[in-house]
Amino acid sequence: MGAKYFGASVRRREDPRYLRGEGRFVDDIKLPGMLHAAFVRSPYAHARITAIRTEPARALPGVAHVYTFADLERWMKPLPLFGAIPPGLSARVAVTMRQVGQLAMCRDEVRHVGEIVAMVLAGSRALAEDAAERVQVDYEPLPVLADVIAAAQPDAPVLYPEWGDNIALSFRTGFGDAEAGLREAHVRVRERFTIPRYVGMPIETRGVIAQWDPRDGTLTSWNGTQVVHFVQQGLVAALGLPPHKIRVIAPDVGGGFGTKANGYPEDLLIPAAAIASRRPVKWIEDRREHMMGSAHARAQVHDIEIGARRDGTMLAVRDRIWVDLGAYNSWGIVLPYNTVAHLLGPHRVPSLDVECLGVVTTKTPNAPYRGAGRPETVFAMDRIVDRLARALGMDPADLRRRNYLTEADMPYELHIPYRDGNPLVYDSGDFRAGLEAALAAVDYPALRAEQARLREQGIHRGIGISGYVEGTAIGPYEGATVRLDPSGHAVVATGACCQGQGHETSFAQIAADALGIPLEWVTVVGGDTAAIPFGVGTFASRSAVNAGSSIHEASGRVRDKIVAAAAALLEASPADIEVSDGAVSVRGAPGSATPLAAVIRAATPTFARPGVTELDFEATVYHHQPTVTYTSAVHVAVVDVDTGTGAVTLRRYLVAHDCGKIINPVIVEGQIHGGVAQGVGGGLLEEMVYDEQAQLLTGTFMDYLVPTAMELPDIETVHLEYPSPRNPLGMKGIGEGGAISPPAAIANAVEDALASFGAKVTRTPLGPSVVLGLLGES
């Protein structure tokens, strides 16, 4: 296979429509007779519903229906749960887990602010909102759980009485003898670090439209989701229809970041309302609903301790982790175990002892967001590594140099299983090389010299380093069907869903190369359950490897069929057939070039003759990916801190990374930039803030602060390439990576800048008020 497109920065094929305003997002779809939904949402964090009066809302002109739990009860099965413990994991780690599925509409109890209590359908969204205000709900407030540590205490009020406490998940794992490692260590440091709630916050909110066709009993739902097949499965369970009667389509989706990979009440409520009302129903989440109703993320506390020899050699890490799950443990093992599996990252540490608690609170449920446990765990680890460097009197770069794994260590096994139950074995990479590349690119010695010079002028500059290793491309599979049309153009259908990552381009690059046709001949279809029956979806940096490998393999099979037909047509040996640029030819026979369309025509039966081969230029492959590929990176942040105001200015940000073989370099770079921006948000600006009554205080974009172009510098990138042996094209996932290290790198830089004050950074975001507080009363 010639790689004509793979590895090239091909311009994105989806861009012209977006640039002309011709994208088609859920909110752009209009159906005849469509009703608009608005929800009545709980103003309480935890309360019993004692009465709901819908009559005043029903009485409003233009209102079609008002539904409560009782009205839709036949469809109100608990929402799907994720994160079951795979056998390979349960064999090695004893996990206690409890999961209760959320009801799409509250029956008699609300467990977080924003949970849905009733639904109004009306002729316009404005009318639906007018009516929703008139629904009267009587609540009897119940005890709230606003703080994760307090909620984990034995005397805390209990959210699910049948559990007896609020611990939805607990396990302890590790390897080696951490107790002995810490005992033998010359230096031990310990700290409690808090990673706040911050979230994906796509600029397009969620949205669902559903249409029920009573003639053939089919339901079509347009949903701005990252996981059409999961949404379909949820609807199958709730509606009792076979999957082929339920078509879920994710049209153009305006960013996802994991937020849209969650299962949501509205995924079911809007289809149920369409069936109940026999009208198409549309719901577009508004930004306020998004703040309280779409999944939150991060929200962890780590009590971490590290021990090392005097020369900096790390001996042991011990960590106790609290994950604030919010009101429902919908994601099971995923976030807690991701956190644990990625704690040590690029470091060689001979022993680990970690205990992890997943705790329910009366807040919006926690779900994976770009990094999913990794930014949190990297924050704890890289902060404690910097503390260790300080305690040892070592430069933090030197301490990492001493402990980072190299290519000679690969494959490297961490002696705990990965989240998929398979052994946690780094497949390839050289983390120390990544570190050196990053340090060289920023000219680390010069940065340190400049820092000292500026300090004399009263300017507090800080340099922060953070490194991670990330299991990407989690399986178990994704699929693709590749088929040619009569002209030899190809349609690639995959279960991967795109939210801006450029699938229509990257996947076409893979297919065009493997088929031997021009890129322009490939149409990629994702996010449609009617296009392919089985699928997982796009999250966890998984689509390039899982869907990309499927497309590569399926395209190869279609090419074999082309070759067979061409060999028959041209009376040559299949081994001598070349396919390139949409034409076939016999090797060494110029003039034999035949357009692909002619080959397909030859395979098409006529009255006079059968086809030269079967008329079949289609193949489906479900690529099995038993375990992950390991992406890695080192980030360097340079900040200035204004000690008069606490304002932090991010001066420079550099990423040196390895994601294996790259399909489209400019798309990869864009993924890194975007991830970094979200990580910088977590480091400096973003937090979902609750008060002690578990009331959400960040209800708008004026309170929840997404970084703008003024808070971000240019982002420098250095590419390293260590192909993964775990898929045919040597790829690794890159979607999340950029977001993992910035909070740690920035926190390390701020503490470095303020070292002379003895400032101790233990949480983000590092807004000016927090930073000034670190300086004490000086």
Binding site: D130, T700, M702, M710, P768
Partner: protein, 289 residues
């Protein structure tokens, strides 16, 4: 997130507008740029029964500079003042680039910002610092409300429910005066956590003429630091004296805490910014205003 229903009137004369406001019985709101009002409508935090849109009123879109006063009509967009200021007032140019973002400033009016009375907004503090007045028109005619009697509480002013602010007037700093402006915000264009604006002039003897200093984001209203101003006026401007005046000014503030900054932070940083703005103003004395 759609506004609750309301009636809409677009009067063509001032009298008609004032009449419509009076007829609204306190539940009418003036719509000018709408950049603060419309979000509150969308969030249903404001629920007027009537919006009186003054955008069609004639004669309110002028910027006039005369005899040391700068008068700005009620329909002058912030962007228009910003463009005017580029060549004429570095102070206003600097202040306005901190007011939200260009698409907001293209609609948002100077007068609307001043009368919205967000305590963390820049222009009300500038009005206070420059001893401005608000020109108000009501059923009983026109009156001038000096800035230091205009602000009463967050989003609350001396303007009656049936009164319309038709203009604001700033007293331009005297020739040779210097200015300083500084704020801390979470992001560029956000409301300030705390900020300060200062104007200083030197008299002939190397001492200071009248000094002016005002804070925003430092309490329920913009605050003028009168005592600190007096402590500086007529004195030699040493760094120590400026620092002391800045500290004294900040010590008199009673800011609030919120999710973005504590009250203690605001008080402490008010002192820093006062010192910085006063020092900057001193450095600019003799330069362009």
């Amino acid at each position: 997130m759609k506004p609750a229903p309301f009636e809409y009137a677009a009067p063509r004369s001032l009298d008609e507008a004032v009449g419509a406001l009076a007829g609204g019985g306190g539940d009418a709101k003036v719509l000018a740029g709408g950049q603060s009002l419309i979000p509150m409508l969308a969030l249903r935090l404001a629920r007027p029964t009537l919006l009186v849109d003054i955008n069609r009123l004639p004669g309110l879109d002028g910027i006039r500079e005369a005899s040391g006063m700068l008068e700005i009509g009620a329909l002058v967009r912030q962007r228009a003042l910003e463009r005017w200021a580029v060549s004429r007032s570095p102070l206003f140019a600097e202040v306005l680039r901190h007011v939200a973002h260009p698409p907001i400033r293209n609609r948002g009016t100077v007068v609307g910002n001043v009368v919205h009375a967000d305590p963390a907004s820049e222009l009300p503090a500038v009005l206070l610092c420059l001893e401005g007045v608000v020109v108000a028109r009501g059923p009983r005619g026109e009156r001038m409300i000096p800035a230091d009697r205009f602000y009463r509480a967050p989003l609350t002013t001396a303007l009656g429910p049936d009164e319309l602010a038709t203009a604001v007037r700033f007293t331009l700093p005297p020739a040779g005066a210097g200015w300083g402006f500084a704020e801390v915000s979470r992001r560029h264009g956000d409301f300030a956590l705390v900020g300060a604006v200062a104007v200083l002039a030197r008299d002939g003897n190397g001492t200071l003429g009248p000094a002016r200093l005002a804070f925003f984001g430092a309490g329920g209203t913009p605050v003028r630091a009168t005592a600190a101003e007096q402590a500086l006026t007529g004195q030699a401007p040493t760094p120590e004296r400026i620092r002391e005046a800045a500290r004294a000014a900040a010590a008199g503030l009673s800011p609030d805490g919120d999710i973005h900054a504590t009250a203690a932070y605001r008080r402490r940083v008010a002192a820093t910014l006062a010192e910085r703005t006063l020092t900057a103003a001193l450095g600019r004395c003799g330069g362009p205003r």
